[in-house]
Amino acid sequence: MKLLLKIWRQKNAEDKGGIVEYPVDNVSPDMSFLEMLDVLNQDLIEKGEEPVAFDHDCREGICGTCSLYINGRAHGPDTRITVCQLHMRSFNDGDTIYIEPWRAEAFPVIKDLVVDRSAFDRIQQAGGFISVNTSGNTQDANAIPIEKENADKAFDAATCIGCGACVATCKNSSAMLFVSAKVSQFALLPQGQVEAHDRVLNMVKQMDEEGFGNCTNTGACEVECPKGISLENIARMNREFIAASIKG
Protein backbone atom coordinates (compact mmCIF):
# COMPACT_ATOMS: atom_id res chain seq x y z
CA MET A 1 0.00 0.00 0.00
CA LYS A 2 1.00 3.58 -0.73
CA LEU A 3 -0.15 6.17 1.80
CA LEU A 4 0.22 9.85 2.53
CA LEU A 5 0.61 10.43 6.28
CA LYS A 6 -0.14 13.86 7.67
CA ILE A 7 1.42 13.79 11.11
CA TRP A 8 1.38 16.42 13.86
CA ARG A 9 5.00 17.30 14.69
CA GLN A 10 5.85 19.41 17.72
CA LYS A 11 9.35 19.61 19.20
CA ASN A 12 8.28 20.19 22.78
CA ALA A 13 5.49 21.59 24.94
CA GLU A 14 6.36 25.19 24.02
CA ASP A 15 6.76 24.67 20.28
CA LYS A 16 3.81 25.72 18.13
CA GLY A 17 3.89 22.57 16.03
CA GLY A 18 2.20 21.74 12.76
CA ILE A 19 1.23 19.02 10.30
CA VAL A 20 4.09 17.45 8.30
CA GLU A 21 3.47 15.20 5.30
CA TYR A 22 5.18 11.81 4.93
CA PRO A 23 4.55 9.72 1.83
CA VAL A 24 5.06 6.03 2.67
CA ASP A 25 5.36 3.06 0.35
CA ASN A 26 5.32 -0.70 0.77
CA VAL A 27 2.93 -0.76 3.69
CA SER A 28 1.58 -4.25 4.26
CA PRO A 29 -2.15 -4.52 5.06
CA ASP A 30 -1.20 -7.01 7.77
CA MET A 31 0.88 -4.48 9.69
CA SER A 32 -0.59 -2.99 12.78
CA PHE A 33 -0.91 0.78 12.72
CA LEU A 34 1.91 1.13 15.24
CA GLU A 35 4.16 -1.17 13.20
CA MET A 36 3.54 1.07 10.21
CA LEU A 37 4.77 4.00 12.33
CA ASP A 38 7.76 1.94 13.51
CA VAL A 39 8.74 1.42 9.88
CA LEU A 40 8.35 5.13 9.17
CA ASN A 41 10.54 5.95 12.18
CA GLN A 42 13.20 3.48 11.05
CA ASP A 43 13.33 5.31 7.73
CA LEU A 44 13.52 8.69 9.44
CA ILE A 45 16.36 7.53 11.68
CA GLU A 46 18.27 6.16 8.71
CA LYS A 47 17.86 9.50 6.96
CA GLY A 48 19.17 11.24 10.08
CA GLU A 49 15.80 12.85 10.87
CA GLU A 50 14.00 13.00 14.21
CA PRO A 51 11.60 10.02 14.58
CA VAL A 52 7.92 10.66 15.37
CA ALA A 53 7.28 10.37 19.11
CA PHE A 54 4.14 8.39 19.98
CA ASP A 55 2.99 6.56 23.09
CA HIS A 56 2.68 2.76 23.24
CA ASP A 57 3.39 -0.01 25.68
CA CYS A 58 1.49 -3.29 25.83
CA ARG A 59 0.44 -3.38 22.17
CA GLU A 60 -2.44 -5.67 23.08
CA GLY A 61 -5.20 -3.26 24.06
CA ILE A 62 -4.86 -3.37 27.82
CA CYS A 63 -2.62 -0.53 28.96
CA GLY A 64 -4.36 2.42 27.31
CA THR A 65 -1.11 4.12 26.42
CA CYS A 66 -1.41 4.29 22.63
CA SER A 67 -3.29 7.48 21.94
CA LEU A 68 -3.64 8.67 18.38
CA TYR A 69 -6.39 10.64 16.71
CA ILE A 70 -6.47 9.01 13.30
CA ASN A 71 -8.43 10.47 10.41
CA GLY A 72 -10.71 12.39 12.72
CA ARG A 73 -11.48 9.55 15.14
CA ALA A 74 -9.95 8.57 18.47
CA HIS A 75 -8.07 5.27 17.97
CA GLY A 76 -8.89 5.43 14.25
CA PRO A 77 -11.77 4.19 12.15
CA ASP A 78 -12.81 0.95 13.88
CA THR A 79 -14.79 0.83 17.12
CA ARG A 80 -14.04 -0.91 20.43
CA ILE A 81 -10.30 -1.05 19.76
CA THR A 82 -7.19 0.84 20.74
CA VAL A 83 -4.64 2.05 18.18
CA CYS A 84 -2.41 -0.96 18.79
CA GLN A 85 -5.32 -3.20 17.74
CA LEU A 86 -5.87 -1.28 14.51
CA HIS A 87 -4.47 -2.79 11.33
CA MET A 88 -3.57 -1.28 7.99
CA ARG A 89 -6.20 -3.41 6.27
CA SER A 90 -8.71 -0.90 7.63
CA PHE A 91 -7.30 1.57 5.10
CA ASN A 92 -7.10 1.64 1.33
CA ASP A 93 -4.18 2.02 -1.01
CA GLY A 94 -3.67 5.71 -1.79
CA ASP A 95 -5.35 6.97 1.40
CA THR A 96 -4.33 10.15 3.15
CA ILE A 97 -4.18 9.58 6.90
CA TYR A 98 -4.18 12.35 9.49
CA ILE A 99 -2.43 11.43 12.74
CA GLU A 100 -2.85 13.86 15.62
CA PRO A 101 -2.39 13.82 19.39
CA TRP A 102 -5.35 13.87 21.84
CA ARG A 103 -6.53 17.47 22.00
CA ALA A 104 -7.49 18.93 25.37
CA GLU A 105 -6.12 21.74 27.49
CA ALA A 106 -5.93 19.21 30.34
CA PHE A 107 -3.78 16.91 28.15
CA PRO A 108 -0.92 19.19 27.01
CA VAL A 109 1.31 17.90 24.21
CA ILE A 110 4.75 16.86 25.44
CA LYS A 111 6.20 16.03 22.04
CA ASP A 112 4.69 15.19 18.63
CA LEU A 113 1.87 12.74 19.38
CA VAL A 114 2.63 12.25 23.06
CA VAL A 115 0.40 14.02 25.57
CA ASP A 116 0.60 14.37 29.33
CA ARG A 117 -2.28 12.44 30.87
CA SER A 118 -1.23 12.88 34.49
CA ALA A 119 -4.49 14.78 35.05
CA PHE A 120 -6.13 11.32 35.10
CA ASP A 121 -3.68 10.15 37.76
CA ARG A 122 -4.52 13.13 39.95
CA ILE A 123 -8.25 12.43 39.57
CA GLN A 124 -7.64 8.81 40.59
CA GLN A 125 -5.59 9.92 43.58
CA ALA A 126 -8.41 12.21 44.66
CA GLY A 127 -10.70 9.24 45.36
CA GLY A 128 -10.38 6.30 42.98
CA PHE A 129 -9.45 3.81 45.69
CA ILE A 130 -10.76 2.01 48.74
CA SER A 131 -9.01 1.85 52.08
CA VAL A 132 -8.74 -1.66 53.45
CA ASN A 133 -7.40 -2.65 56.81
CA THR A 134 -4.52 -5.04 56.16
CA SER A 135 -3.77 -5.91 59.76
CA GLY A 136 -4.46 -9.59 59.17
CA ASN A 137 -8.12 -9.74 60.09
CA THR A 138 -9.36 -8.42 56.74
CA GLN A 139 -12.53 -10.08 55.49
CA ASP A 140 -12.06 -12.11 52.32
CA ALA A 141 -13.67 -10.11 49.50
CA ASN A 142 -15.02 -13.33 47.99
CA ALA A 143 -16.98 -13.98 51.17
CA ILE A 144 -19.06 -10.82 50.71
CA PRO A 145 -22.23 -11.59 48.73
CA ILE A 146 -22.79 -9.18 45.83
CA GLU A 147 -25.78 -9.08 43.52
CA LYS A 148 -24.80 -10.52 40.13
CA GLU A 149 -26.11 -7.50 38.24
CA ASN A 150 -24.05 -5.10 40.33
CA ALA A 151 -20.97 -7.28 40.15
CA ASP A 152 -21.25 -7.30 36.35
CA LYS A 153 -21.74 -3.57 36.11
CA ALA A 154 -18.84 -2.90 38.47
CA PHE A 155 -16.69 -5.21 36.40
CA ASP A 156 -17.68 -3.46 33.17
CA ALA A 157 -16.82 -0.08 34.70
CA ALA A 158 -13.50 -1.46 35.91
CA THR A 159 -12.45 -2.35 32.36
CA CYS A 160 -11.69 1.34 31.68
CA ILE A 161 -8.01 1.50 30.76
CA GLY A 162 -7.65 5.25 31.27
CA CYS A 163 -6.68 5.87 27.67
CA GLY A 164 -8.38 9.25 27.40
CA ALA A 165 -10.12 8.59 24.09
CA CYS A 166 -13.34 9.82 25.70
CA VAL A 167 -11.75 13.21 26.38
CA ALA A 168 -10.09 13.33 22.98
CA THR A 169 -13.30 12.66 21.12
CA CYS A 170 -15.66 14.77 23.21
CA LYS A 171 -16.37 18.15 21.65
CA ASN A 172 -16.13 19.61 25.17
CA SER A 173 -12.99 17.68 26.18
CA SER A 174 -15.02 16.30 29.05
CA ALA A 175 -13.60 13.53 31.20
CA MET A 176 -16.96 12.43 32.55
CA LEU A 177 -16.88 8.93 31.04
CA PHE A 178 -13.52 8.14 32.59
CA VAL A 179 -14.35 9.63 35.98
CA SER A 180 -17.78 8.02 36.05
CA ALA A 181 -16.27 4.61 35.29
CA LYS A 182 -13.88 5.02 38.20
CA VAL A 183 -16.66 6.22 40.50
CA SER A 184 -19.07 3.47 39.42
CA GLN A 185 -16.60 0.65 39.79
CA PHE A 186 -16.60 1.31 43.55
CA ALA A 187 -20.09 2.75 43.99
CA LEU A 188 -21.59 -0.58 42.94
CA LEU A 189 -19.66 -2.68 45.45
CA PRO A 190 -20.01 -2.89 49.24
CA GLN A 191 -16.26 -2.24 49.65
CA GLY A 192 -16.73 1.10 47.98
CA GLN A 193 -19.51 2.35 50.23
CA VAL A 194 -17.38 3.61 53.10
CA GLU A 195 -15.75 6.33 51.03
CA ALA A 196 -18.53 6.77 48.45
CA HIS A 197 -19.61 10.21 49.60
CA ASP A 198 -16.19 11.85 49.58
CA ARG A 199 -15.02 9.92 46.55
CA VAL A 200 -17.50 11.36 44.09
CA LEU A 201 -17.18 14.90 45.46
CA ASN A 202 -13.38 14.85 45.40
CA MET A 203 -13.02 13.20 42.02
CA VAL A 204 -15.45 15.61 40.34
CA LYS A 205 -13.69 18.53 42.04
CA GLN A 206 -10.32 17.36 40.75
CA MET A 207 -11.77 16.79 37.28
CA ASP A 208 -13.02 20.38 37.19
CA GLU A 209 -9.73 21.77 38.47
CA GLU A 210 -7.83 19.99 35.70
CA GLY A 211 -9.80 22.00 33.14
CA PHE A 212 -11.89 19.31 31.46
CA GLY A 213 -15.15 20.57 29.92
CA ASN A 214 -18.78 19.95 30.86
CA CYS A 215 -20.57 16.93 29.46
CA THR A 216 -23.39 17.75 27.04
CA ASN A 217 -24.45 14.12 26.62
CA THR A 218 -23.53 13.85 22.94
CA GLY A 219 -22.57 10.23 23.58
CA ALA A 220 -19.46 10.40 21.38
CA CYS A 221 -17.29 9.04 24.21
CA GLU A 222 -19.32 5.86 24.54
CA VAL A 223 -19.00 5.22 20.79
CA GLU A 224 -15.24 5.75 20.74
CA CYS A 225 -14.35 4.11 24.06
CA PRO A 226 -12.28 0.98 23.31
CA LYS A 227 -13.90 -0.77 26.27
CA GLY A 228 -17.47 0.28 25.56
CA ILE A 229 -17.92 2.03 28.90
CA SER A 230 -21.61 2.97 29.06
CA LEU A 231 -23.16 6.41 29.50
CA GLU A 232 -25.15 4.83 32.34
CA ASN A 233 -22.02 5.36 34.41
CA ILE A 234 -22.20 9.11 33.86
CA ALA A 235 -25.81 9.12 35.03
CA ARG A 236 -24.77 7.12 38.11
CA MET A 237 -21.99 9.57 38.87
CA ASN A 238 -24.42 12.49 38.49
CA ARG A 239 -26.84 10.81 40.92
CA GLU A 240 -24.08 10.10 43.40
CA PHE A 241 -22.73 13.61 43.10
CA ILE A 242 -26.08 15.33 43.47
CA ALA A 243 -27.01 13.16 46.47
CA ALA A 244 -23.62 13.69 48.11
CA SER A 245 -23.79 17.47 47.53
CA ILE A 246 -27.24 17.72 49.07
CA LYS A 247 -26.14 15.71 52.10
CA GLY A 248 -23.18 18.08 52.37
Binding site: G72, R73, E105, S173, S174, G213, T218, E224, I242, I246
Partner: protein, 228 residues
Protein backbone atom coordinates in the same frame (compact mmCIF):
# COMPACT_ATOMS: atom_id res chain seq x y z
CA UNK B 1 -24.57 22.08 48.79
CA UNK B 2 -23.48 25.69 48.05
CA UNK B 3 -20.45 24.46 46.16
CA UNK B 4 -22.58 22.22 44.00
CA UNK B 5 -23.39 24.85 41.39
CA UNK B 6 -19.73 25.71 41.00
CA UNK B 7 -19.10 22.22 39.70
CA UNK B 8 -19.54 20.83 36.21
CA UNK B 9 -22.08 18.24 37.33
CA UNK B 10 -23.99 20.78 39.44
CA UNK B 11 -24.24 23.27 36.60
CA UNK B 12 -25.53 20.58 34.31
CA UNK B 13 -28.08 19.66 36.97
CA UNK B 14 -29.28 23.25 37.14
CA UNK B 15 -29.37 23.42 33.35
CA UNK B 16 -31.54 20.32 33.25
CA UNK B 17 -33.91 21.64 35.93
CA UNK B 18 -34.45 24.85 33.97
CA UNK B 19 -35.01 22.77 30.85
CA UNK B 20 -37.61 20.57 32.56
CA UNK B 21 -39.39 23.69 33.64
CA UNK B 22 -39.37 25.07 30.08
CA UNK B 23 -40.63 21.80 28.68
CA UNK B 24 -43.59 21.81 31.08
CA UNK B 25 -44.26 25.41 30.19
CA UNK B 26 -44.36 24.50 26.48
CA UNK B 27 -47.08 21.91 27.16
CA UNK B 28 -49.20 24.52 28.87
CA UNK B 29 -48.53 27.11 26.19
CA UNK B 30 -49.40 24.85 23.28
CA UNK B 31 -52.56 23.62 25.03
CA UNK B 32 -53.88 27.15 25.38
CA UNK B 33 -52.88 28.10 21.84
CA UNK B 34 -54.55 25.00 20.49
CA UNK B 35 -57.96 26.06 21.81
CA UNK B 36 -57.81 28.88 19.24
CA UNK B 37 -58.20 26.29 16.49
CA UNK B 38 -61.64 25.15 17.62
CA UNK B 39 -63.04 27.82 19.91
CA UNK B 40 -62.38 31.55 19.74
CA UNK B 41 -64.37 31.98 22.96
CA UNK B 42 -62.42 29.42 24.95
CA UNK B 43 -59.14 30.88 23.70
CA UNK B 44 -60.30 34.36 24.70
CA UNK B 45 -61.38 33.21 28.15
CA UNK B 46 -58.10 31.45 28.83
CA UNK B 47 -56.00 34.31 27.49
CA UNK B 48 -57.88 36.78 29.61
CA UNK B 49 -57.46 34.59 32.68
CA UNK B 50 -53.72 34.12 32.11
CA UNK B 51 -53.29 37.80 31.31
CA UNK B 52 -55.05 39.18 34.36
CA UNK B 53 -54.78 36.56 37.12
CA UNK B 54 -52.49 37.96 39.82
CA UNK B 55 -50.86 34.58 40.57
CA UNK B 56 -50.06 34.01 36.91
CA UNK B 57 -48.90 37.56 36.32
CA UNK B 58 -47.18 38.26 39.63
CA UNK B 59 -45.65 34.88 40.40
CA UNK B 60 -45.60 32.49 37.45
CA UNK B 61 -44.56 35.03 34.84
CA UNK B 62 -41.47 36.22 36.74
CA UNK B 63 -40.48 32.59 37.41
CA UNK B 64 -40.84 31.86 33.72
CA UNK B 65 -38.74 34.85 32.70
CA UNK B 66 -36.11 33.85 35.23
CA UNK B 67 -36.20 30.27 33.94
CA UNK B 68 -35.67 31.33 30.32
CA UNK B 69 -32.91 33.80 31.14
CA UNK B 70 -31.19 31.30 33.45
CA UNK B 71 -31.35 28.61 30.77
CA UNK B 72 -29.75 30.59 27.99
CA UNK B 73 -27.22 32.41 30.17
CA UNK B 74 -26.13 29.06 31.65
CA UNK B 75 -26.09 27.63 28.13
CA UNK B 76 -23.67 30.35 27.01
CA UNK B 77 -21.49 29.92 30.10
CA UNK B 78 -21.23 26.14 29.65
CA UNK B 79 -20.46 26.47 25.94
CA UNK B 80 -17.76 29.06 26.61
CA UNK B 81 -16.13 26.81 29.21
CA UNK B 82 -16.33 23.86 26.87
CA UNK B 83 -14.75 25.81 24.02
CA UNK B 84 -11.82 26.80 26.21
CA UNK B 85 -11.29 23.19 27.33
CA UNK B 86 -9.85 22.52 23.86
CA UNK B 87 -7.29 25.12 22.88
CA UNK B 88 -6.03 23.58 19.64
CA UNK B 89 -8.61 21.92 17.44
CA UNK B 90 -8.11 18.87 15.25
CA UNK B 91 -6.98 19.28 11.66
CA UNK B 92 -9.38 16.47 10.85
CA UNK B 93 -12.36 15.53 12.99
CA UNK B 94 -15.28 13.34 11.93
CA UNK B 95 -17.81 14.04 14.67
CA UNK B 96 -20.74 12.80 12.64
CA UNK B 97 -19.50 9.23 13.07
CA UNK B 98 -20.09 9.27 16.81
CA UNK B 99 -22.74 11.84 17.65
CA UNK B 100 -25.85 13.51 16.23
CA UNK B 101 -25.96 16.93 14.65
CA UNK B 102 -28.54 18.01 17.22
CA UNK B 103 -26.32 17.10 20.14
CA UNK B 104 -23.42 19.10 18.75
CA UNK B 105 -25.44 22.18 17.89
CA UNK B 106 -27.47 22.95 20.98
CA UNK B 107 -26.08 26.47 21.05
CA UNK B 108 -27.03 27.11 17.42
CA UNK B 109 -30.58 25.81 17.84
CA UNK B 110 -30.78 27.65 21.16
CA UNK B 111 -29.71 30.96 19.63
CA UNK B 112 -32.34 30.68 16.88
CA UNK B 113 -34.97 29.97 19.54
CA UNK B 114 -33.66 32.94 21.51
CA UNK B 115 -33.94 35.23 18.48
CA UNK B 116 -37.48 34.02 18.00
CA UNK B 117 -38.25 34.62 21.68
CA UNK B 118 -37.06 38.20 21.16
CA UNK B 119 -39.57 38.65 18.35
CA UNK B 120 -42.23 36.86 20.35
CA UNK B 121 -41.65 39.16 23.30
CA UNK B 122 -41.93 42.17 21.05
CA UNK B 123 -45.09 40.84 19.36
CA UNK B 124 -47.06 39.70 22.35
CA UNK B 125 -45.47 40.52 25.65
CA UNK B 126 -44.44 44.17 25.10
CA UNK B 127 -47.80 44.70 23.41
CA UNK B 128 -49.69 43.17 26.34
CA UNK B 129 -47.65 45.01 28.94
CA UNK B 130 -48.23 48.33 27.15
CA UNK B 131 -51.98 47.89 26.96
CA UNK B 132 -52.39 46.53 30.47
CA UNK B 133 -49.87 48.34 32.60
CA UNK B 134 -48.94 51.49 30.63
CA UNK B 135 -52.32 52.35 29.18
CA UNK B 136 -54.05 50.76 32.16
CA UNK B 137 -56.61 48.86 30.11
CA UNK B 138 -57.22 45.59 31.94
CA UNK B 139 -60.54 44.90 30.23
CA UNK B 140 -59.14 42.69 27.48
CA UNK B 141 -61.82 44.07 25.17
CA UNK B 142 -61.44 45.10 21.56
CA UNK B 143 -62.98 48.43 22.48
CA UNK B 144 -62.54 49.06 26.22
CA UNK B 145 -65.46 51.51 26.24
CA UNK B 146 -67.85 49.01 24.74
CA UNK B 147 -68.47 45.80 26.72
CA UNK B 148 -70.23 44.35 23.68
CA UNK B 149 -67.13 44.51 21.48
CA UNK B 150 -65.76 41.17 22.80
CA UNK B 151 -62.27 40.08 23.82
CA UNK B 152 -59.39 41.18 21.61
CA UNK B 153 -57.02 38.18 22.05
CA UNK B 154 -58.35 35.93 19.33
CA UNK B 155 -58.45 38.74 16.76
CA UNK B 156 -54.92 39.78 17.65
CA UNK B 157 -53.68 36.22 17.29
CA UNK B 158 -55.27 35.89 13.84
CA UNK B 159 -53.74 39.20 12.83
CA UNK B 160 -50.22 37.97 13.67
CA UNK B 161 -50.45 35.01 11.32
CA UNK B 162 -51.54 36.91 8.22
CA UNK B 163 -48.00 37.76 7.13
CA UNK B 164 -46.31 34.86 5.32
CA UNK B 165 -42.92 36.17 6.46
CA UNK B 166 -43.95 35.92 10.11
CA UNK B 167 -45.35 32.46 9.61
CA UNK B 168 -42.10 31.50 7.85
CA UNK B 169 -40.00 32.74 10.77
CA UNK B 170 -42.34 30.96 13.14
CA UNK B 171 -41.88 27.66 11.31
CA UNK B 172 -38.09 27.92 11.19
CA UNK B 173 -37.94 28.66 14.91
CA UNK B 174 -40.13 25.70 15.80
CA UNK B 175 -38.22 23.32 13.57
CA UNK B 176 -35.11 24.34 15.48
CA UNK B 177 -36.94 23.89 18.76
CA UNK B 178 -37.74 20.35 17.65
CA UNK B 179 -34.06 19.73 16.93
CA UNK B 180 -33.10 21.28 20.28
CA UNK B 181 -35.51 18.98 22.07
CA UNK B 182 -34.63 15.86 20.10
CA UNK B 183 -31.31 15.97 21.89
CA UNK B 184 -32.29 17.99 24.95
CA UNK B 185 -35.16 15.91 26.24
CA UNK B 186 -33.15 12.77 26.93
CA UNK B 187 -30.08 14.77 27.76
CA UNK B 188 -31.87 16.47 30.64
CA UNK B 189 -32.77 13.09 32.15
CA UNK B 190 -29.19 11.93 31.81
CA UNK B 191 -27.99 15.16 33.48
CA UNK B 192 -30.10 14.56 36.57
CA UNK B 193 -28.85 10.98 36.72
CA UNK B 194 -31.90 9.16 35.39
CA UNK B 195 -30.60 6.46 33.09
CA UNK B 196 -32.18 3.13 33.88
CA UNK B 197 -34.62 0.52 32.61
CA UNK B 198 -37.14 3.22 31.72
CA UNK B 199 -34.74 5.11 29.48
CA UNK B 200 -35.69 3.14 26.38
CA UNK B 201 -39.38 3.87 26.81
CA UNK B 202 -38.57 7.48 27.57
CA UNK B 203 -36.62 7.78 24.31
CA UNK B 204 -39.79 6.87 22.43
CA UNK B 205 -41.80 9.41 24.34
CA UNK B 206 -39.11 12.06 23.86
CA UNK B 207 -39.47 11.76 20.07
CA UNK B 208 -43.23 12.17 20.33
CA UNK B 209 -42.82 15.20 22.56
CA UNK B 210 -39.94 16.81 20.67
CA UNK B 211 -41.59 16.58 17.27
CA UNK B 212 -45.21 16.74 18.46
CA UNK B 213 -45.12 19.96 20.46
CA UNK B 214 -43.34 22.09 17.85
CA UNK B 215 -45.53 20.51 15.14
CA UNK B 216 -48.65 21.61 17.02
CA UNK B 217 -47.36 25.17 17.25
CA UNK B 218 -46.66 25.13 13.51
CA UNK B 219 -50.08 23.65 12.79
CA UNK B 220 -51.78 26.42 14.77
CA UNK B 221 -49.85 29.09 12.86
CA UNK B 222 -50.67 27.55 9.48
CA UNK B 223 -54.30 27.05 10.45
CA UNK B 224 -54.79 30.73 11.19
CA UNK B 225 -52.75 31.76 8.19
CA UNK B 226 -54.86 29.81 5.74
CA UNK B 227 -58.28 30.38 7.31
CA UNK B 228 -57.89 34.11 7.67
Amino acid sequence: MAGMFNSSVGRKFAMALSAFFLMLFLVMHVSINFTSVFSADLFNEMSHFMGTNPVVQGLMQPILIFGVVFHFVMGFILEAKNKSARGVSYAKNVAKDNSTWMSRNMLLSGVVILAFLGLHFYDFWVHEMTIKYVEGDMSGLINPDNAESGFRYYEELREKFVSPVRVGIYIVAFVLLALHLLHGFNSAFQSVGANNKYTKALTGFSKVYSIGIPALFIFIALFHHFTH
